[in-house]
Symmetry: none
Subunit: 199 residues, 4 copies
DNA sequence: AATGAATGAGTTTTCATTCAT
DNA sequence: AATGAATGAAAACTCATTCAT
């Protein structure tokens, strides 16, 4: 009898998350999924639809979580502080949930057309929040940026990278990490550095 | 009879490159490879070892090419110009050979342990060149950087992203693109902007 | 709570009948059966034995119903009227219960040996009634038939076909249909046509 | 090394024919097919597309063969002789190729929509030949029929039945069989019996 | 009476690879 | 150099059935 605090379907989701992140969607078999969840491969199908639906569920929950948080953060009025908050959110999310974010970032084209459309739509909404934040900062003279589209992509790629290397055991703790990237971002957009951070 | 200027094994490599980039290593079958190369799947094995060796070959050639070029560039004495050249090389490579670089970046953990070690070693040598360039710039007072390790990763991720979106038909041509990223990089490391590029 | 006039096990039989007729025994899954009956697949097993027993039950009830009715009809003394009644019964049954008859006709070799023996025995008893009716008609000079065995098979196949096309909404109503086939049967056995039906 | 006179793909077709006729399409597994063809289930796929395509190929070849032959036969001018020839063709085909005809007759709704459309179209063309032959016979006073549509169905069902029981080892040889059914058919359509066949 | 959970064995189909020719 | 033939193992998924609750 499984633990009362972890439902079987959570275990399935967790196993899928871990394996998809580690070996990729196509590199992960149903049998491996079943093993990792402690089930037979037939039993797996009590807790999921298809393998692809499992992937979509992971992506959707990850993206909607990030999107919701970003929509809060974006309410801030000051362009510099707004960007700062976006960067910290993005970095924090990628540092603390690297498996989710890696799956979202790496497996989009494992999806079939219909599912891909949904996921890409979510991702686009998120990126639009960044684009607007940058546009607004430029319009209000807070940022000096050559190409906003390039800067947006550069910022996002740069911040997403933490999912590929950061661990809580390393030299930088989560606060350091966020502070560091916030500083890089301010430089990237040509914003004045904040008081105590002159390096 | 195939063209005299394109050997069959080049056609195989090209097909693999295209397909691995598009659908991933695990998402690409031997028969698709054979179709794309215009061969039967059995004939394919005259021009390659295993599917994995094909992947390794692609990665090795891509990485050694970049590494060789970087080793030239790194000879430059001036830290700012040296970084500038590294960025331009990296961006140019990712823009003009996006399939190679995407395969290298995305498929490393499709490799078995032995092959992975080789590829990771090459990648590490390349990243070490960047690390040294940044360290030297800091030591000589040309750059002001919080964490060099973070900056190195941020720079590389940011520049690699180009392979995911740039096309020659877009708003920025290759020169614009390199200039743009060079500017972003200088800001990131806290180096003075070059003469004509004040934004 | 289900209707008081339709028991759950009747609903199961009905669902099975419909699905077996539509998609065949092997083409129908237990879960489809359960869905159609409004039950879970586990609950299904409160109302049936195995899937095969369900099929046998359908076949048995269909065949015994037909057999009982035929045994009544066969009491008639006049060979022509007897055949007429047999044809009408067979046609009426196949027209009004096409699902039952199609399952009986089509799924016999989905059965395992034991079950098949039982069903085939019932079918043979039914066909023997026809055979006797024809033999008697020939013996008494009412019918003129080359091979009685061939005629029996021809008659039965011809009449059974009704289950594959007749609907109450078509050009012929049930009376027309029975009259039509009765006429064909009389011709087939070389019996004189009845008074008002000369065509 | 297989026989020089029977190709492997013929063996596959033969095995499929036999098994589909015996146990039905859904009742026949790929493994059984492979066993019967003397191949591994993977090797099977060198000689066929999907299991369904195998079924369609069987149906198509059977139906087009019958249709071609019928189109010849239908050229005859005399309605009685024409019907006679159609009946003999149909009976002969069902007697000598009972597996093909049973598969065609019984497995149509195992097909997916697209394939079914093709097969049904062929079958409809064949039945239209019969319908025309009957219509013409009625129009020219050679046949006296209540409902031509009913008679057509009755005739076809009756003749198709031979695929379910006739064997060359029984009481009737192939000539007897054709003669017998031709006689039944003439009676069915109210055509005068031919000279030597008064029964 | 009813069902979620579970599964071993099955389904059709594809996998990467080998080998005789 | 090229390929048809072949396959064991695996892919994702469904099967009919059981059982504890």
């Amino acid at each position: 009898m499984p633990s009362a605090t972890t439902s079987t379907s959570e275990r399935v989701q967790d196993a899928a998350l871990r394996l998809f992140a580690e070996r990729g969607y196509h590199g992960t078999g149903i049998r491996q999924l079943a093993d990792a969840a402690g089930l037979s491969s037939a039993s797996l199908y009590h807790y999921m639809g298809t393998k692809e639906e499992l992937l979509v569920a992971i992506m959707r929950s990850s993206l909607t979580g990030l999107l919701d948080a970003a929509e809060q953060v974006v309410q801030m009025d000051d362009p510099g502080e707004r960007l700062d908050a976006l960067v910290r959110l993005h970095v924090r999310t990628h540092a603390t949930a690297p498996e989710q974010t890696r799956v979202v970032d790496d497996e989009v084209n494992a999806l079939s057309a219909g599912a891909r459309a949904e996921v890409v739509a979510l991702r686009d909404r998120y990126e639009t929040l960044w684009q607007s934040a940058l546009d607004d900062g430029v319009a209000r003279g807070a940022f000096r940026i050559g190409s906003v589209a390039v800067a947006r992509r550069a910022l996002l790629e740069m911040c997403s990278g933490v999912a590929r290397w950061w661990t809580p055991d390393g030299e930088l703790d989560l606060d350091d990490l966020q502070r560091e990237y916030a500083g890089l971002a301010r430089r990237l957009v040509g914003a004045p550095l904040r008081h105590a951070e002159s390096w």
